[in-house]
């Protein structure tokens, strides 16, 4: 037989895979700029400072939810209860604030974070230790958390007039001309990104999602890693739920309905792979900005509301298709085929 096909004979594919993995975020930025220019040319209202601030504000909370989703996606799992967790956290916090007039800012922050963490831990227990497939487990808790919100609320909403005024005004305050909401969001994404980058836990998160069999052979405790990924996801949803409540003022039982989809869309558009092991929270946050930009641009162009869901869906499908192609390239390049 001729010499076995030399293993070094694929320099092209090797470089391509590496380049693609490294440049995914840059690709999102380029796409964002192109998108912004296109909308700017199509309507002169898009590129105004005021409008861009609006876009950034609406992206701010979604970016945090996308981060939460990304952490779970990296481990090759999924959390479709993101919207329900935000809704439950927001309602319980608002209700507590409304019924306890003397509530301090520390409590207002601590309560949602604790609730979010507990909700995330329940998801984590089911998926990591209960070995329930992530989609099924979180589909269940999605209904469970939302249903609990309905029961608890008796169909009542918490109106903004019942909340402490400082709670509402704090998110609208500006520092150096920028709304606090945007700054908080950037800070949170930056901190999460740094934690994942700098700490060993971040490496384990990617390792478990990258190759589960190798993780087992290596002796990594995948269950623990996945569990904490869900806990982190719940914690971030706590933050997102609180900010959402403060931003809209009036908290209804359907708050953040459908955010599981937008958070997933943001993460995937931002280059987080649904097959695990790849992507960053910064990418996910950028994905949120892309989604907010598309939404805003379509409103300005007076595209009917019905189209927006369709276009969001198309963006997800396109992003997932690209992701699948990349994942296949990686599989092939890592000795996927052996003699």
């Amino acid at each position: 037989m001729s010499e076995a096909p030399s293993v070094a004979a694929r320099p092209g594919s090797r470089n391509l895979v590496e380049v693609v993995l490294r440049l995914r975020e840059a690709g999102v930025v380029v796409f964002l700029v192109v998108l912004g220019l296109a909308f700017g040319l199509a309507t002169d209202r898009f590129l105004s400072v005021q409008n861009l601030t609006t876009v950034a504000s609406s992206a701010a909370i979604l970016a945090i939810a996308a981060c939460a989703q990304a952490i779970v996606l990296i481990t090759r799992n999924l959390d479709v209860s993101v919207g329900s967790m935000m809704g439950l956290v927001a309602y319980l916090t608002a209700d507590w604030a409304a019924t306890h007039p003397g509530i301090t800012p520390v409590e207002v922050v601590a309560i949602p974070l604790m609730i979010g963490t507990v909700l995330g831990a329940i998801n984590g227990l089911l998926v990591a230790y209960g070995r329930v497939p992530a989609l099924i487990a979180t589909l269940g808790t999605m209904s469970l958390y939302r249903g609990f919100t309905y029961i608890y609320a008796h169909g009542q909403e918490v109106t903004s007039s019942r909340l402490p005024p400082w709670m509402l005004s704090s998110v609208d305050a500006r520092i150096g001309g920028l709304p606090i909401l945007i700054l908080v969001s950037i800070a949170i994404v930056a901190v999460v990104a740094w934690l994942l980058h700098a700490y060993p836990f971040g490496r384990r998160l990617y390792a478990v999602g990258s190759n589960g069999v190798a993780a087992w052979f290596f002796g990594l405790r995948a269950e623990r890693v996945v569990f904490f990924a869900y806990v982190a996801c719940g914690f971030l949803c706590g933050i997102a739920g609180l900010l959402y409540a403060a931003r809209v003022g009036t908290v209804t039982v359907v708050l953040a309905n459908g955010w599981e989809m937008s958070s997933l869309a943001s993460a995937v558009i931002g280059g987080v792979s649904v097959s695990g092991g790849s992507g960053t929270v910064v990418g996910a946050a950028l994905g949120a900005v892309v989604l907010a930009t598309i939404d805003n641009g379509l409103v300005l162009l007076r595209v009917p509301e019905f189209w927006r869901m369709f276009i969001q869906g198309a963006a997800i499908v396109a992003a997932v298709a690209v992701d699948a192609l990349i994942a296949e390239a990686i599989r092939r390049s890592t000795g996927g085929r052996r003699r």
């Binding site: 293993v7 490294r22 060993p200 390792a207 990258s210 002796g219």
Partner: protein, 510 residues
């Protein structure tokens, strides 16, 4: 022992295995294995497929726990619960297929589990990259530690894995068939690294199928057979023939009763110059009615791939297949079944049966169309057929409505037989039909195969179990490295000759 001092200096063992035993449920996976591994020496671990080598490695590295016996490392009994613990004690393993994280960088892979920590417990990246570069240099590799693992060649993977093992101050390095996916040049480079590690006092356990590697590399050899320890000897005391004999050394027991002289008819399955690019090349043979043709070879030689190509799972890139005188181009299993060819895959639990379904549903699956009236399945007929098939193939079960996953390995195999034979094939390919089933069921499967051949079926039997192959086959083909390298008539074949042909060195054919 008065002459101890006069012997050449053999270092005291670093790793002692004492009476290691392990069961998986009712199946004995390992029984009474004891040997010593010494620093600065390469210890070969050999045995046929399924002899228990992998289980032993898993026990040493903490992936599985032994049920009996002791592992003693540097004088202390140890019992590792995870590979990380084993690595912290200086035991690491490198497997034949890469076990790295493709999305992470080489440095991150090498440092995994023991990141150099800097400020506030964060990963010290510079130190991580420097250490990685250092360890890569020790294995003679100048790969950039910052590169992602995705895109590395198999050989490069292997070197990164060894570098990772070295990063934990390894005292015992286990290499599980490290060269199976490497070219000869790459393998030579790998062995150069192994020798330099050995010279620096690392104990090496080398698992391999290639006898020439044992001769070239090993100082000691341990042979496992049928999950038991057969012998541990200095390499100098065994030659190839002796090694092969130790590995296969079972007598042809009464269990493997040879078939009476069969009546053999016309060619049923004829294969001419069959090739699948990069997998196997120019394979030609034929199987006649009433004949059992054995196909031997090492794992990974390409036997299952040939069978899967014949069955239409991966269509060939060249060559012809003639079934009962009619040429067919294998395109899909459905088409090949319709032409009268059936295939029992090796991993019947994964590929051959639908585990959470009943025996009935499994048996009738390939022939549902013929059991249906106006597309509605005739349930009574289905059940009747399943019951008679279960009787014919002696499936031990309370009822044909039993879920397949509740059956023993042997009974599952019988269900798989019943399933494919319900299609009434003229030729049957069996891929390791007795792999992982107990001795009693084995004999029944053999009897069944013989019976089928006597009824005029053409049988191609792929087996790594040499005594089985020798006892069952009317002719034996040997596949090595994707090519047909030898053919033996029933009376010429011996365990040794088949094993020798199968273990022939790469490039040594022709």
């Amino acid at each position: 022992m008065p002459t101890v001092a006069a012997e050449p200096v053999i270092p005291a063992p670093i790793l002692l295995l004492r009476r290691i035993g392990k069961s998986f449920g009712p199946v004995r996976a390992l029984e009474d294995v004891s040997f010593d591994v010494r620093p600065g020496r390469v210890h070969g671990l050999v045995g046929e497929n399924g002899a228990g080598k992998s289980t032993l490695v898993k026990i040493i590295t903490g992936l599985e726990e032994a049920d009996e016996g002791e592992v003693i490392l540097a004088g202390r009994a140890v019992r590792f619960r995870t590979p990380i613990e084993a690595r912290n004690h200086g035991i690491a393993a490198v497997y034949q297929d890469p076990k790295l994280f493709p999305h992470l960088s080489i440095a991150e892979n090498i440092a995994m589990g023991a990141y150099p920590s800097g400020w506030f417990g964060t990963v010290d990246r510079r130190a991580m990259i420097d250490t990685a570069r250092e360890h890569l240099a020790r294995v003679g590799s100048d790969l950039d530690p910052k590169r992602t693992v995705a895109g590395l060649s198999v050989a490069e993977h292997q070197f990164v894995e060894i570098a990772r093992a070295l990063s934990s101050d390894v005292r015992v390095l286990i290499l599980d068939e490290p060269t199976s996916a490497l070219t000869p040049t790459e393998a030579e480079r790998l062995f150069a690294v192994v020798r330099s590690l050995r010279d620096r006092g690392t104990a090496i356990i080398l698992i391999t199928h290639r006898l020439e590697e044992i001769e070239a590399m090993c100082d000691d050899v341990t042979v496992l057979r049928d999950r038991r320890h057969v012998a541990t000897l200095p390499r100098a005391e065994v030659d190839r023939a002796k090694l092969v004999q130790l590995m296969v050394g079972r007598p042809l027991e009464a269990l493997f009763a040879r078939r009476e002289r069969p009546t053999i008819g016309e060619d049923v399955l004829r294969v001419e110059h069959l090739s699948l690019d990069g997998v196997f090349d120019d394979v030609s043979f034929s199987v006649r009615a009433g004949e059992i043709v054995g196909m031997g070879g090492l794992v990974g030689a390409g036997r299952s791939e040939i069978a899967q190509t014949l069955f239409g799972i991966t269509p060939p890139t060249a060559g012809r297949v003639v079934l009962k005188g009619v040429e067919v181009a294998p395109q899909s299993p459905k088409q090949m079944l319709a032409r009268g060819l059936a295939y029992l895959p090796e991993d019947r639990d994964r590929d051959g049966l639908i585990m959470p379904e009943t025996i009935t549903h499994n048996i009738t699956l390939p022939i549902l169309d013929s059991l249906s009236h106006w597309t509605v399945v005739d349930r009574a007929g289905e059940r009747r057929l399943a019951e008679s098939a279960s009787q014919t193939y002696r499936v031990l079960t309370p009822s044909v409505e039993t879920i397949v996953s509740a059956l023993s390995g042997g009974n599952r195999q019988k269900v798989a037989f019943a399933k494919w034979l319900a299609t009434e094939p003229v030729a049957l390919i069996l891929d390791e039909p007795t792999h992982g089933i107990d001795i009693g069921s084995k004999a029944q499967v053999h009897a069944m195969v013989a019976q089928l051949a006597d009824r005029g079926l053409a049988v191609l039997l792929i087996s790594s179990d040499l005594p089985e192959l020798l006892a069952m086959s009317d002719r034996i083909l040997v596949i090595a490295e994707g090519a047909l390298v030898a053919e033996f008539a029933r009376d010429e074949a011996t365990q040794e000759s088949v094993m020798m042909a199968a273990a022939r060195q790469r490039g040594g054919k022709r």
